[in-house]
């Protein structure tokens, strides 16, 4: 075991897979010599050579399109899109090509690629470095969407994604690259090294796609979250002294609906938290699923806490962010009758 922050864990996952499978190649803007703007690919070009880890032109369409062709050849590319906010020029290649290749060719061609990209705000990135566009991708058939919340999960889920024979969008919450974030932006950030989740095995291991993680057991209310919001939700629950069950979904597609159902049947209440905008967000899907499957167990309306339906602002970042106040209000509303 080693102690790693999330960037180091991702780097270790990439290195592990490059070592094990010579068909794994990394490509993206600034990922080569420099090692990536967030350092996720640091040292990999030096170790594995320029044809295994290389810089690309600033063209997300070209990056993902070339990766599709590399898959057709037999490689297992891991392209990086520098920020999820930049992924849109590559959407056609991801949605119409990579995600549908297996289906349209009846299995003759597949796209076993893992597109890595940092998501989310909380770093004063403004509207073009803060978005959480995951719901656009969960809407696509044939694409898996993964969002880790700890160094241990990041490496294990990344290895599972690279080994998966379908295209995976691997979204990395950049706010928690260096340490978990509780939503109290004025407090100093504690590094990952202070937490057990930073204990990461050096070699190969996987965290399976499609398995959620119950990060806090409880019986008062089920809180569904992923990425950065897992840590925020957990902190708020504890602050309010509510015995909530907090579930880290880890992967949105495929979704671990069993764990969700089991928990909501037990608690009878459900709060959904995500940083992304509200309308047609993934919370809407979760809310519908819980309603369809657990309606007769529900004792209160399902609540959603999300980012607002505006672009991510710069100076008003913390007014936008679904932090402790917004989550706390929703929690009190949903469990209010338990307290009275």
């Amino acid at each position: 075991m080693a102690v790693m922050n999330m960037i180091e864990a991702i780097n270790s996952g990439l290195e592990t897979m490059m070592q094990r499978d010579e068909n794994v190649v990394i490509m993206g803007e600034d990922v080569g010599y420099f090692g990536g703007v967030f350092r996720a690919t640091a040292g990999l070009q030096e170790k594995f050579g320029k044809t295994r880890c290389f810089d690309t032109p600033i063209s997300e369409c070209g990056i993902i399109g070339a990766a599709v062709g590399m898959c057709a050849y037999g490689l297992r590319p891991v392209p990086e899109i520098q920020f999820a906010d930049y992924i849109y020029p590559g959407m056609d290649q991801l949605i119409s090509e990579a995600a549908r290749l297996r289906y349209r060719s009846a299995g003759e061609f597949t796209a076993p690629m893992t597109v890595r990209s940092p998501v989310g705000g909380g770093i004063f990135g403004g509207q073009t470095h803060s978005q959480s566009p995951e719901a656009m991708f969960t809407h696509v058939s044939g694409l898996k969407t993964v969002i880790p919340s700890t160094p241990y999960d990041a490496k294990g889920l990344l290895i599972a994604s690279i080994e998966d024979n379908d295209p995976v969008l691997f979204l990395e919450p950049k706010r928690i690259y260096n340490g978990p974030f509780t939503g109290y932006y004025d407090n100093p950030v504690l590094p990952w090294s202070k937490f057990a989740e930073a204990e990461v095995p050096e070699g190969h291991y996987t965290v399976p796609l499609g398995k959620a993680n119950i990060v806090r057991e409880g019986d008062a209310v089920t809180v569904l979250a992923y990425g950065t919001m897992v840590h925020v939700a957990k902190a708020v629950v504890e602050e309010h002294g509510i015995n909530a069950e907090v579930i880290d979904l880890r992967t949105l597609v495929p979704l671990d609906v069993e764990t969700i159902e089991e928990s909501v049947r037990k608690t009878g209440r459900c709060l959904i938290v995500h940083e992304a905008t509200r309308t047609s967000g993934f919370g809407a899907e979760l809310s519908a699923l819980v309603q369809e499957r657990c309606f007769y167990h529900l004792e209160a309306p399902i609540e959603r806490v999300t980012g607002f339906d505006t672009p991510y602002p710069h100076s008003l970042e913390w007014a936008y962010f679904p932090g402790p106040v917004r989550i706390g209000e929703a929690l009190e509303k949903i469990v209010g009758d338990l307290k009275s």
Partner: protein
């Protein structure tokens, strides 16, 4: 809102909307189209730097002259057998297109796209490649499959979307796929195959392989961002890829001017990227073969990518869904100054003394019989809309390698609906 401020004495700005020279009913006059003399184009050494051969992008490589002879440095000097194979393949392709188009008109399938008039741009090009070179076609390169010996009955099964369709009835007719023959699955989204072909070629080069990639798109879809991303990547990584632009003058009802043809050639796009580029008489099968061979040799020897513009004419509709008499003059096809690729090769072979009108008639008849037999055979497996050809589960297969719970639930629902609609 127009600016109300007083202006200088400049005339007002005007927006240019391109307009083709001829519309329905117009008399067609191609006299201002520059058609260089066959055989007059120099053939650069394959090691030439792109900047030293830029004149090629405004010229046009032509081999077959007005006397049906092969002339000049680009004559690939093919033997009779190869030329006869080229002719037979193009005739079989055209016969197939005609016959399957008719099947669509008879209601046996939903859609068809012919390659009439453009046969050389796929057939002669594919013949100049190795069988294991990877092809990334657009939707009008079925000629590659004919060159590589794909069974016609498989094609018709796909067109009829029947129970023997290897693509399980999922794809629009003619959007074939054959991994075995190194023919990439055809997309309906335009030019997406361009960066993919470059990526494949990059992979081949990075593995020290000897295979190269070839990709096709129409002149209209060179306007897509994918084309330019692919050109950039091909140039940056010196990828072993041949990028074909089939300039057939029309993108459905939009003439080539809407892709920029009023200002320059499509081959000239290569110059800006530092990519070797050739402009070829696309209705001259020998010129297409020669240009492809040149580009292939270049790619195979680490000289990098080549862009080839095939100057041709889409002799028929874009697809079964449009009627060209509504947007262009019927005379365009009749007056097309570069003739027809099959007729030109036919005349050349007759000139060589290895072919005759009688043999051509026999070939036409044989090809028709072969297509009819394939259609009859395939129809035994069903035609579109008559009966349920694929089990319902196949709709949910291959979305992922393993079916997740939500698709299993939806598959169960589809099966339940089937039982309600068609009680056993």
């Amino acid at each position: 809102m127009a600016n109300k401020e007083p202006k200088s004495n400049l005339p007002p700005l005007t927006l240019h909307i391109p307009e083709p020279k001829f519309r329905p009913g117009d008399t067609v006059d191609y006299s201002d189209l520059e058609i260089p003399e066959a055989g007059a184009q120099a053939r650069p050494d394959i090691h030439s730097a792109p900047k030293d051969m830029q004149a090629m992008v405004y010229d046009m490589i032509r081999v077959l002259d007005d006397d049906d002879k092969a002339v000049g440095p680009w004559d690939p000097k093919l033997d009779d057998e190869t030329l006869l194979k080229m002719l037979r393949t193009m005739v079989q392709l055209r016969t197939f297109d005609d016959r399957l188009h008719r099947q669509q008109r008879q209601g046996k399938t939903s859609f068809y796209m012919k390659s009439t008039g453009e046969e050389a741009t796929s057939v002669a090009a594919a013949m100049a490649l190795h069988g294991d070179d990877m092809c990334f076609p657009s939707y009008r390169q079925q000629g590659i499959l004919f060159v590589r010996g794909y069974p016609m009955v498989e094609m018709v099964n796909q067109i009829f979307s029947n129970k023997a369709d290897k693509l399980k009835g999922r794809q629009l007719p003619i959007m074939y796929s054959s991994r075995e023959l190194n023919f990439f699955t055809v997309s309906g989204n335009l030019t997406t195959q361009y960066p993919q072909a470059v990526g494949w070629a990059m992979a081949s080069a990075s593995k020290g392989d000897s295979r190269i990639a070839a990709v096709w798109c129409g002149e209209g879809s060179t306007a897509e961002g994918d084309f330019h991303a692919a050109m950039t990547f091909a140039a940056v990584y010196n990828a072993p890829v041949i990028m074909n632009v089939v300039n057939n003058q029309w993108a459905i009802s939009s003439f080539s001017g809407f892709a920029g043809a009023e200002r320059t050639t499509f081959a000239a796009r290569g110059a800006g990227y530092g990519i070797a580029a050739l402009r070829v008489d696309g209705n001259d099968p020998l010129a297409v073969y020669a240009a492809t061979s040149w580009a292939a040799e270049r790619a195979r020897t680490n000289q990098g990518p080549t862009l080839i513009e095939h100057f041709t004419y889409r002799a028929e509709a874009h697809s079964t869904s449009d009627d060209p008499s509504a947007y262009r003059s019927a005379q365009e096809r009749e007056e097309w100054p570069l003739g027809d690729p099959i007729m030109r090769l036919n005349k050349h072979l007759i000139k060589r003394g290895v072919w005759s009108i009688e043999q051509q008639e026999q070939l036409d008849a044989d090809c028709l019989e072969a297509v009819k037999a394939a259609v009859t055979e395939a129809a035994k497996n069903g035609i579109l809309g008559h009966g349920l050809h694929q089990p319902f589960e196949t709709m949910f297969q291959d979305v992922f390698e393993e079916m997740p719970w939500h698709l299993r639930e939806q598959a169960a629902q589809a099966n339940k609906e089937r039982e309600i609609k068609w009680p056993s």
